[in-house]
Subunit: 200 residues, 2 copies
DNA sequence: GCTATTAAGGAACACTTGTTACAGATGTAA
DNA sequence: TTACATCTGTAACAAGTGTTCCTTAATAGC
């Protein structure tokens, strides 16, 4: 009565991961509103009904695409968090960001900025999701800085919340800079200048 | 044969400036794609035909709205350029930006970021316009820094292009920070920290 | 008065939007 | 083979998209 996957009936005939990857890439490039279901069917190579059966509606698919993006692509911050010292962390944060933004075969922006900044009321859930992710990233950054403060690496005179927002501001700015068309070399130099002004 | 305005026939019965102002505000909030003609007719209080007769199609109207935005709202950079010294200029640039982003009665973002970052191929002209404006702003900033370099205010060791991109990065980052929902106080402190790290 | 010219209001346009219904295909389990 | 369950492909859906057409209204000059 049940197959190996615990399901009976006709099995799926396409690679779900590959399809979601394709969806992620157009959403990344065109944002939630700029991507139509027609675009998605073409890029994923699937019929609407297959998409709906496998992933749900457009909002649900977008959420899954963003989740995939965060887990597989936007690891530049997570990787940096693994660094042992504060200095190594901050250096890695900036360098990873530049490397990420200039990786070929995907848009030169953070998906959370291309996804939906200004949008219709209909797309508000998508925008809220983007904002929330940006805030979560900021929380993770803050916790790393708090740890550095406790270890004495970050001077007590520095306000952790301010420092968090400041670093976050520069990282976001780099993403815009990349979206404007800055080259890898330019981004690197910008990041280096930021590091120098931070004292690193 | 001709009226005072050089036109015969029935005169326009609405305030063109007020209508364009209304259009600008929704475009600002929802971006090009997120704003429908139905939204525009409602916000502007006009019929489609009146909009088309007075401003052209949606793309043309968006261009006019952006032009108005640049000329009347986004003057924070232009005003700063009038400052006499480099230090005064940079301080004004940051302070004006924060003041602008936290002005009530309009969205807490730069219109060029909300307008269209990720978008459909159909909206590409709008996105290109946004990118071009951001680049133009950067050119104006660069020229001010070049002047400071010549006057000796900006040390020759500092690469003007790099410094331009660096300042531009922080300004753009502040806009994202504001869009995330940062308060005026938070933005002020972030800008102050940026200034301090710049040596001001 | 009349005529010319332009704007206003609203219906209608062809097309696209996201979503679903349905018939047929394709598999598993007995 | 038969029964069952699920996926696939296509067509259709209602609602929304940007845009245009057309009738009516309002003004200017004769």
């Amino acid at each position: 009565m049940k197959t190996a996957n615990g399901k009976t009936g006709r099995p799926i005939s396409f690679d779900k991961d590959a399809a979601l990857e394709a969806a992620m890439l157009i959403f990344w490039e065109r944002g939630f509103e700029g991507t139509s279901m027609a675009d998605l069917t073409q890029a994923m190579g699937l019929n609407p009904s297959s998409i709906y059966a496998a992933f749900g509606d457009k909002h649900a698919l977008f959420q899954l695409a963003v989740k995939r993006y965060m887990g597989l692509r936007a690891q530049y911050a997570v990787k940096a968090l693994e660094e042992s010292t504060l200095e190594r962390f901050i250096r890695a944060l900036f360098n990873n960001t530049v490397a990420f933004l200039t990786t070929p075969n995907h848009p030169p922006t953070c998906m959370t900025l291309a996804g939906a900044v200004g949008c219709s009321v209909d797309a508000k859930p998508a925008r809220d999701l983007m904002t929330e992710i940006r805030k979560q990233n900021q929380v993770a950054l803050r916790e790393r800085l708090l740890k550095a403060r406790k270890s004495g690496e970050l001077p007590k005179e520095i306000n952790v919340d301010d420092y968090t927002r400041y670093l976050s501001t520069i990282i976001a700015g780099l993403s815009i800079q990349a979206a404007n068309g800055s080259t890898k070399a330019e981004l690197k130099r910008t990041a280096q200048m930021a590091l120098r002004h931070l004292g690193y």
